[in-house]
């Protein structure tokens, strides 16, 4: 009964949305509204203005840097909330049994063999993200996935021991701090937030630095999610 009602609601809503979507301009035409206004301006001057030939990176880290700053704040706030929820549980049930299942030796060997290459690829994506497809978040997610894989192979407790608490503190907040630094530096040097200096190589350097900070921040946020979930699972 409830399922039938939900189905009716969903079908009616889908019909309304279908009517709305059918009124949208057809995708694929180069003269569409998406391509005419700011997008054309970004494509004309984005490389020089933002120091990044990859225009997606240029939009993310320069034109819409405040949006991206908000995004970094969101992921950091989610990490804080996850850790707070996890901590609230730990005070009641502090110890859990050592019942970790060993992984298959094949998985273990393959992950250990692939780990350096995954790390190299993540670094490549972060450092070349302003020129080629890739970027801070993408490379950071690859790096975080690598650390989660290692956590699965070595055991989360060993992974936790490899990451000392002061290092976690800095790596988790580095993206926020770097963004704030760039914003304030722009305000001090040129008069508005996120302003970049005149020289192109300096702009490129700042973008690469921001990418690196975002990558590290995203990776360690993922690892924080994983470790917290893993710790909760054993209670």
């Amino acid at each position: 009964m409830r399922n039938a009602l939900a189905l009716v609601v969903v079908i009616v809503l889908a019909g309304l949305m279908m009517a709305g979507v059918s009124q949208l301009p057809p995708p694929g035409s180069p003269d569409g509204a998406v391509h005419r206004h700011v997008a054309a301006h970004y494509i004309d001057g984005g490389k020089e203005a933002a120091g990044a030939p990859n225009l997606v990176t240029a939009v993310l880290l320069n034109y819409r840097a405040l949006d991206t700053y908000g995004e970094v704040v969101v992921i950091f706030a989610a990490l804080l909330a996850v850790l707070a929820v996890g901590l609230a549980g730990h005070s009641r049930g502090p110890q859990r049994g050592a019942d970790e299942l060993p992984v298959s030796p094949v998985v273990d060997l393959v992950i250990r063999l692939l780990a350096p290459f995954i790390a190299l690829f993540a670094l490549f994506m972060i450092l070349e993200g302003h020129v080629l497809p890739g970027g801070g978040f993408q490379g950071g997610v690859v790096l975080g996935a690598l650390m989660i894989l290692l956590g699965l192979v070595l055991g989360p407790r060993r992974l936790r021991r490899m990451l000392p608490t002061p290092a976690l503190f800095w790596t988790r907040s580095v993206a926020l701090l770097a963004f704030a630094l760039v914003a304030v530096a722009g305000l001090a040097l040129a008069g508005w937030l996120f302003a970049l200096p005149e020289q192109y190589w300096l702009r490129e350097l700042i973008i690469v630095g921001l990418e690196l900070a975002i990558g590290i921040g995203a990776a360690f946020a993922l690892v924080g999610f994983y470790l917290s979930l893993e710790a909760d699972r054993h209670r």
Binding site: V10, G46, V59, A78, D232
Partner: protein, 111 residues
Amino acid sequence: MVILFAIGLYVVLTKQNLVKKIIGLNIMETAVFGLIVTSGMVTGGSPPLLGQGLEPPYASPIAHALVLTGIVVALSVTALALVLIIRVKAECGSIELDELQVDLQPLEPDQ
């Protein structure tokens, strides 16, 4: 995309399992991201990477950047929801919504 969104909405509305609800939410998010990215597409165009020898009709970089932001926010929401579900499981012993309501009934007369 509308169909994908409708599937996600149906899952969120009908499934009692909280993890399945989160999966439905993610399906809905995927539909929205797909719609926005498609709107930035150009037929026969190239990715917006300058200096790589690609020809000018570029796809709109704004749609890509917006969706990238959206994906990260969706990831954060999912992680937070999963941790909360684990806490619900630890506190109430179940992640099925209909079972949860039965468990919570005896608490009400005390208040």
